[in-house]
């Protein structure tokens, strides 16, 4: 068997588009997940029991089903549900990209929730007292005092989760969205160059993930808050 790495060169613009989509999806899912995850964390820690239970239920559900199932579910079942509710003649199509964004945000929110919850709980109760004692409201105390510290404490874990997310986005391949892996797979099939393409994809992923995780390590020692 002869290897022809020229195929990479030839399909580079297409692969680049797929790669951009991967990065875009990772970024959107991370930001969305972090935003909703933080809200979920606040709900889980809320004194309002009902909120806490609902949030906990959601998080536990999301964490106990495989991501790929969530993606399938959204892609194939939600249109049917929507059809059932709206009474439309045909199930409305979700579209691969929209499905991907929604599912990843929903799924990541559950994980980011647990990270942020740990982060919030790592802040001494006295900080909340001090914020309240100055007349800050609950929302202000969270936004200005507690969450900034929680984020800072959690940056290494958040970045690690980001690396996992970056790798997980390759699962959108199953609903035929053309991410980096999807693009490579399509080229590989077309040109019969499976070995070269999958080697290349693996190399790119590992270089990026390794670099980021090294950065996390260095960050970890630098950002620790001096108490």
């Amino acid at each position: 068997m002869t290897l022809d790495f020229d195929v990479i060169q030839r399909s580079l613009p297409y692969l680049w588009k797929g790669f951009q989509y991967t990065v875009q999806l990772t970024g959107t899912a991370a930001l969305g997940g972090l935003f909703f995850g933080t809200l979920l964390a606040l709900a889980r820690l809320s004194a309002v029991k009902f909120l806490a239970y609902v949030a906990a239920g959601y998080v536990n559900l999301m964490r106990s089903i495989p991501l790929i199932l969530v993606i399938f579910w959204f892609f194939f079942l939600v249109p049917l549900v929507v059809q059932g509710i709206s009474g439309a003649e045909r199930p409305p199509q979700m579209g691969a990209e929209r499905t991907a964004i929604i599912t990843f945000i929903m799924f990541e929110a559950a994980y980011f929730c647990e990270i942020m919850r740990a982060g919030i709980q790592s802040i001494p109760k006295g900080q909340v007292y001090a914020a309240y004692a100055l007349g800050l409201t609950y929302a202000q105390s969270m936004r200005l005092v507690i969450l900034p510290q929680a984020f800072r404490n959690m940056i290494p874990v958040l970045l690690t989760q980001l690396i996992i997310l970056f790798q997980d986005t390759s699962l959108v391949y199953v609903i035929s969205a053309t991410d980096f892996v999807g693009a490579a797979a399509k080229v590989a099939q077309r040109d019969g160059r499976l070995v070269e393409m999958y080697l290349f994809v693996a190399l790119v992923y590992s270089v990026i993930c390794f670099t980021v995780s090294q950065m996390v390590k260095r960050l970890q020692s630098r950002i620790a808050i001096v108490h």
Partner: protein, 246 residues
């Protein structure tokens, strides 16, 4: 006689089945300095946290400047913004510089501009002798310095009274006096103060009254001379003999 600044009437509080406060009543008038002391676990820190609603209580009534703390209609954040509080562990915000710590509530709660807040902040830092430290972070300061900043931070809100919850208990011995000096000065200026502390030297110097607590009850509530001269209760006598060396 005008309405007292702080009134506690028959306050009781439970953690589950355990009663931490048992029928506590006292009053603090404007300009008065009241020291609250007692053995650890006697409920004194809990009581002071009830005064600005940081801890809820199940029975009784507390009012500050005529406003009921326990009433559901009371906007606690508004009330708290007028009541300064200093904590055992300083609780400066570690992710902000000293001057930002002083400006935060002034701008976000009081609605002052950043310039006004900084001016007021610098003035208070000067007063506690920490002008040089304005742009450092809390972690770079000693405990005594941090506590003085915390006092300045509370004063920046122009409080009508000040609550101190064991302000010197977490300090190294050589730093206690620098904090007490600031508090003595404050007391002499006529600030209404409720101070939970074991510093009997401070109590003797500036307190008007001493409240002694034990097992969630106010056992003794007496003028300073009376308390240090002839405490009526056996528990207070015993406590004093343990912590006074003279």
């Amino acid at each position: 006689m005008p309405e007292p600044m702080i009134v506690a009437k028959h306050v009781s509080k439970w953690y589950g089945k355990f009663q931490v406060l048992n029928d506590c009543s006292t009053e603090i008038h404007k300009g008065e300095v009241v020291v609250v002391c007692g053995p650890s676990g006697s409920g004194k820190s809990t009581l002071i946290k009830c005064v600005n609603g940081l801890e809820p209580f199940q029975q009784g009534e507390i009012s500050v400047d005529g406003i009921s703390v326990g009433a559901p209609t009371t906007k606690l954040s508004k009330l708290r913004s007028r009541v300064g509080m200093v904590f055992q562990h300083f609780e400066l915000f570690p992710h902000m510089t000293i001057i930002d710590n002083l400006c935060l509530a002034q701008t976000k709660v009081r609605g002052r501009t950043r310039e006004e807040a900084e001016e007021r902040g610098q003035k208070l830092l000067k007063r506690v002798g920490l002008t040089e430290q304005a742009h450092k972070y809390p972690g770079q300061l000693s405990g005594g310095q941090q506590q003085r900043v915390a006092i300045a931070r509370a004063l920046a809100m122009d409080p009508i009274c000040m609550l101190f919850d064991e302000p010197t208990s977490a300090l190294d011995p050589e730093m206690i006096n620098e904090v007490l000096d600031v508090m003595v000065e404050l007391a002499k200026e006529g600030m209404t103060m409720m101070v939970v502390t074991h510093e009997m030297g401070f109590a003797k110097k500036v307190a008007h009254r001493v409240v002694f607590m034990d097992e969630g009850r106010i056992v003794e509530d007496a003028g300073k001379e009376e308390f240090f001269g002839t405490p009526r209760s056996e528990r207070a006598r015993e406590f004093l003999s343990k912590i006074l060396h003279d």
